[in-house]
Symmetry: D2
Subunit: 146 residues, 4 copies
Amino acid sequence: MTPQERAIRVGEVMFAVDIAARETMGIQIVSVAPGHAVLRMAVKPLHLNGHQICHGGFIFTLADTTFAYACNSHNKNAVAAGCSIEFLKPAHAGDVLTCEGVEQTLQGRYGIYDMKVSNQKAEVVAMFRGKSAVIPGTVFPEEESA
Amino acid sequence: MTPQERAIRVGEVMFAVDIAARETMGIQIVSVAPGHAVLRMAVKPLHLNGHQICHGGFIFTLADTTFAYACNSHNKNAVAAGCSIEFLKPAHAGDVLTCEGVEQTLQGRYGIYDMKVSNQKAEVVAMFRGKSAVIPGTVFPEEESA
Amino acid sequence: MTPQERAIRVGEVMFAVDIAARETMGIQIVSVAPGHAVLRMAVKPLHLNGHQICHGGFIFTLADTTFAYACNSHNKNAVAAGCSIEFLKPAHAGDVLTCEGVEQTLQGRYGIYDMKVSNQKAEVVAMFRGKSAVIPGTVFPEEESA
Amino acid sequence: MTPQERAIRVGEVMFAVDIAARETMGIQIVSVAPGHAVLRMAVKPLHLNGHQICHGGFIFTLADTTFAYACNSHNKNAVAAGCSIEFLKPAHAGDVLTCEGVEQTLQGRYGIYDMKVSNQKAEVVAMFRGKSAVIPGTVFPEEESA
């Protein structure tokens, strides 16, 4: 199993049971690779807050989900320890948000990942930074899949 | 209209149109006061990610919503400029999360608000800090309501 | 030894060898208590950047030092895992900056501490949040001091 | 004057009066380019805290200074609005820290810049993210220099 195959498999396994992202938010996977993930979410009425813009929490949710797929892509369980987000532009109903997540560093148990959320005009909507910690276990049993 | 009456009215007006928080997430308002808000969310299956715990993005959404109610409570429109969150404990289906938001400072246009998310055992699940910027406009027309 | 005596002793022991804070920056301890510390720094020419204001890095250093004294005050070694700071007002030569640090939560190994830096007019200059992790060891040998 | 010449000139003008960075910390400029800067600092006894490691505040100061040179490199005055840092490895006396700062986005008045601090073994010591806001004025009078 190559690192790329492993990352794709991790994405499939996680997505299958990720009710929050898949069903509640309507997030889709575009691609997963080692230390890297791209996810997408179309902004619908269910995402709108009282200002008729996408709730910042849901933009965060898209980025946090992308973070999860990127930092688990090596098939070692990893959890978010802390995150920060900067909101740069509002998103409206009908916008399609794409989030790209990139591993910046992974040293020992701790990693830093950067997520950039852009709209269909390639305008940056938000930037998110997450710190991960590796914990025991794997996303899928590596022996069976090897 | 007293500051407390104004804060309550802001909360009512915002909540009435806040589809994301009220309908999608199932968030409820416990109280709103000047520079202060308490909101609550019961963790349900729709909130669970692949680890069968509440998606961090939805804990963020609860905190971010509380932040919005606290920083708009003076009936001056305010938006989130940036936020950070530290996740301290997972939340499971059946947990009831309460988020208290407090204004730490409001100087000129910029404010800092701290949100603490606790579960029904009073354990701290997450801490969130938000920076707000006041923008032109009000949540409801103050003249009409005065 | 009471918790308060322990906190004071931790402060003395740390400060005695803290060249960076004491000599390079000119920081002074005002008080240390369990989960709490107050430190002070007068802004001098050595602190000024090219805009003739106190370098943001030195305001951070005052806050980060206060954080260290607060999170080590239980005489269990603790280190900073991550920090964020919001700069609210510039500080000028002659200003006296006071930083108060407060423990917000300490659950197991991880703590969250908030530092508020104010000037002599009680204006908030910066707010800093730090996350600490307890590591093995103590600041001073507890048996000897007991 | 090309963008590159402008960035170099900004760096020279800022550095000449930056007592805090140049004299107090011993920071040196390696390079400045549009939206980009590299600075260096050798860790000396004056930087050490009570654990005999470089004070986190001074690692922050190196990163914050790099941020300032990167975000002012277009010769439009910019200030730090908020910053976060993650500490990944300690730095010891004798280490040489290099900080590279990169502009991630600059939309209208607001920019996001990422700084990575590495030691002489290319190990990542810290990662810093800064949010800048452009304010009126220039670092040097553009007409004179053109």
